[in-house]
């Protein structure tokens, strides 16, 4: 399971140099960008006036994660051409969220979290179910990102998995702590540019050095099913991945906090543009994995394939580029997730359940403590990579959460657009969708969990709404917010 140091492409000295240089850069940017944060609202929502360029960049960079740069190649290796095309369908999550972002901003001009919306729209029981779903997903994503950091560093340099994972996690915790969402969005802009240029460079050099003909010939000889358009598991995976991506984005506070933070007319265009820009990235990133048979390299663990192929084809330069690109992609997602999850825990758990009269200062402090605690919990879970069944590989961890998030698609869509959606139905749709999604995960495979979760959730919510419709006045969302958020906004206006 471990790449021995004598076969690592990147000398340990260079790896440590890159690690230290980029760690310092991200932490400095975090401090620099976040130094003007004075209130919890500044820290959590960057003043609610992010412009189109930064908004598009942060949406795209956050969605280009370790899961894109490392899981897309993994899926290409496991499920073939449909694996990478299927992964790119995740772009539809961003594109379909564009109208939702506009609606969210209109309905809740003073909103803070996705939990706020579910609580006000469906009541406390549904809110609590939603929080469980959302926090399990956030934690699964955090763990998969931390794992990706450790895998990357180990695959390229031979530095111990736990050491690399710990450093990347610590750096992201530190600069998120210093700068809040403002730092997250600022660093995302820099990271987006690095990711786009780096991924394009690697794909171009792979095609140039190996060639389409050699890739195709060796695949046909050694792994023919990867080119088979009727690959059964891959066919099952296509809509599963699409619905997984939609579920991730529709429910997660990572995207809701941006909908609240972007300027009034920015959200729709930013999410649409980010989705279109993101669409080709998994195909470009995943394609390199198909060169594995042509190169004759061994892939000890499937999630290592991207860095291994790039390093093999491109040598030292390639290894350095991959290292920088994936480090940027990891950081851009880890920081967003840490920030958004800490906001959710602060608002919906700390202020919503533990200390309802928490002052602005107490919430500000709680946000920071929670970032550190999330970092520690993630570190503890990621340390068990390969030792627990669901922490086996990046895709296994990630798609385990698919059952949870896909079952939250319909409560969010119905909550935003269906005036008569039934609150009990919304809660039960998440419970039933998650349960049957998990059953399918273990009985059939990771490639159907989200699909089953979404289908079951839809059936339950439609049934309850049809049998017992409940009227809702949208205006109550906007009316409830100013009083509700007074503590967090303090005296800044």
């Amino acid at each position: 399971m471990i790449i021995a140091e004598d076969v690592a492409i990147l000398p340990e000295g260079i790896a440590w140099g890159l690690l230290i240089a980029f760690s310092i850069l991200w932490v400095f940017l975090g401090w620099f960008l976040g130094r003007k944060n004075k209130t919890a609202e500044d820290h959590m929502l960057a003043g609610r006036n992010v412009g189109l360029a930064l908004a598009t960049a942060t949406a795209m960079a956050t969605w280009v994660t370790a899961n894109t740069t490392m899981t897309a190649p993994q899926l290409a290796l496991q499920l073939g051409v449909w694996g990478m095309f299927g992964y790119s369908l995740g772009a539809l999550g961003l594109i379909l969220f564009a109208p939702l972002a506009r609606r969210i901003r209109e309905l809740m001009p003073h909103g803070f979290t996705s939990g706020d919306f579910i609580r006000l729209r469906f009541g406390k029981f549904t809110w609590r179910v939603f929080l469980v779903v959302s926090l399990i997903y956030a934690f699964g994503w955090l763990v998969s990102l931390a794992m990706a950091g450790g895998v990357l560093i180990n695959a390229l340099s031979g530095i111990d998995y736990r050491v690399g994972m710990t450093i990347i996690l610590a750096v992201c915790v530190l600069y998120t702590l210093l700068g809040g969402l403002r730092a997250v969005i600022g660093t995302d802009f820099v990271q987006t540019i690095i990711i786009i240029l780096g991924v394009a460079f690697i794909a171009w050099l792979t095609i140039d050095k190996v060639g389409f003909e050699a890739i195709h010939f060796n695949l046909m000889e050694e792994r023919p099913e990867l080119l088979n358009l009727l690959f059964p598991a891959a066919i099952m995976f296509l809509f599963n991945n699409l619905l997984f991506g939609v579920g991730e984005i529709f429910h997660s506070n990572v995207w809701w906090s941006r909908a609240f933070a972007f300027g009034r007319s920015v959200g729709f265009r930013a999410y649409l543009l980010a989705g279109l820009l993101w669409l080709p990235i998994p195909i470009v990133a995943g394609f390199v994995a198909l060169a594995t048979p042509a190169l004759g390299i061994n892939v000890p663990v499937a999630d290592m394939v991207g860095p291994l192929v790039a390093a093999e084809v491109l040598g030292l330069t390639g290894a350095i580029v991959v290292f920088i690109v994936v480090f940027a992609a990891l950081a851009s997602s880890l920081d967003s997730l840490l920030a958004a999850t800490s906001d959710l825990v602060t608002r919906d758990i700390y202020r919503g359940h533990i200390r309802k009269s928490a002052s602005q200062h107490e919430q500000f402090r709680a946000t920071k403590v929670i970032v550190v605690l999330l970092g520690l919990l993630t570190w503890a879970a990621a340390s068990y990579r390969g030792e627990l069944p669901i922490i086996g590989s990046l895709a296994a961890v990630l798609y385990f959460t698919g059952a949870f998030v896909a079952s939250a698609i319909w409560p969010v869509v119905a909550g935003l657009y269906w005036r008569r959606a039934n609150p009990t139905g919304a809660a039960l749709s998440m419970i039933a969708g998650t349960t049957l999604g998990l059953v399918s995960y273990f009985v059939i495979g990771f490639y159907v969990a989200a699909l089953v979760g979404a289908a079951v959730s839809l059936a339950v919510l439609v049934l309850f709404t049809w049998v017992a419709p409940r009227d809702f006045d949208w205006r109550s969302l906007a009316e409830a917010e100013p009083r509700d958020t007074a503590g967090a906004r303090g005296g800044i206006r």
Binding site: P99, L230, P232, A233, M236, F239, L242, P300, Y417, L451
Partner: protein, 141 residues
């Protein structure tokens, strides 16, 4: 860690002496670690241990007539994917050894296409409903 603390030092020494005295102990031979017997997803991982460097062979028939070495080196696992329906035989040995020390047979039998298209249709249906719900909701809003 708990296991280490519970081990009796005398027992550890006795086991070490025993393995040293018994030539060609089976623990020194490369062997697969819990290989899968069947695979329907189309991909699986093989793990092994027992030497510093290894040779891994893949074949389809029991006589290994079409055998080929698919890995030679110090890694202790590999990802297999893209194989068509068949029974695949994998053998492992220490690099340079004359005889194979362990064999694993994995039967690859992909999901039925009817099942695959059933899930495809289910996903397509949910997606179409989602598009309609958002389009209609936007219009009403």
């Amino acid at each position: 860690m708990t296991t280490e603390r519970m081990l009796n030092p005398a027992l550890v020494w006795a086991l070490l002496v025993l393995f040293w005295l018994v030539p060609g102990s089976s623990l020194a031979e490369p062997a697969f670690d819990s290989p899968p017997e069947r695979d329907s997803a189309g991909f699986f991982t093989l793990d092994w241990s027992g030497a510093d460097r290894f040779e891994l062979e893949q074949a389809t028939g029991p006589d290994h007539a079409d055998a080929r070495i698919i890995y030679r080196g110090s890694d202790t696992s590999t990802t297999i994917s893209g194989l068509s329906d068949n029974a695949y035989r994998f053998r492992i040995r220490a690099e340079g050894a004359e005889t194979w020390s362990d064999e694993a047979v994995v039967v690859v039998e992909h999901h039925a296409l009817s099942r695959a298209f059933l899930f495809f249709a289910l996903g397509a249906g949910v997606f179409v409903v989602l598009l309609l719900a958002i389009a209609r909701g936007r219009k009403l809003a």
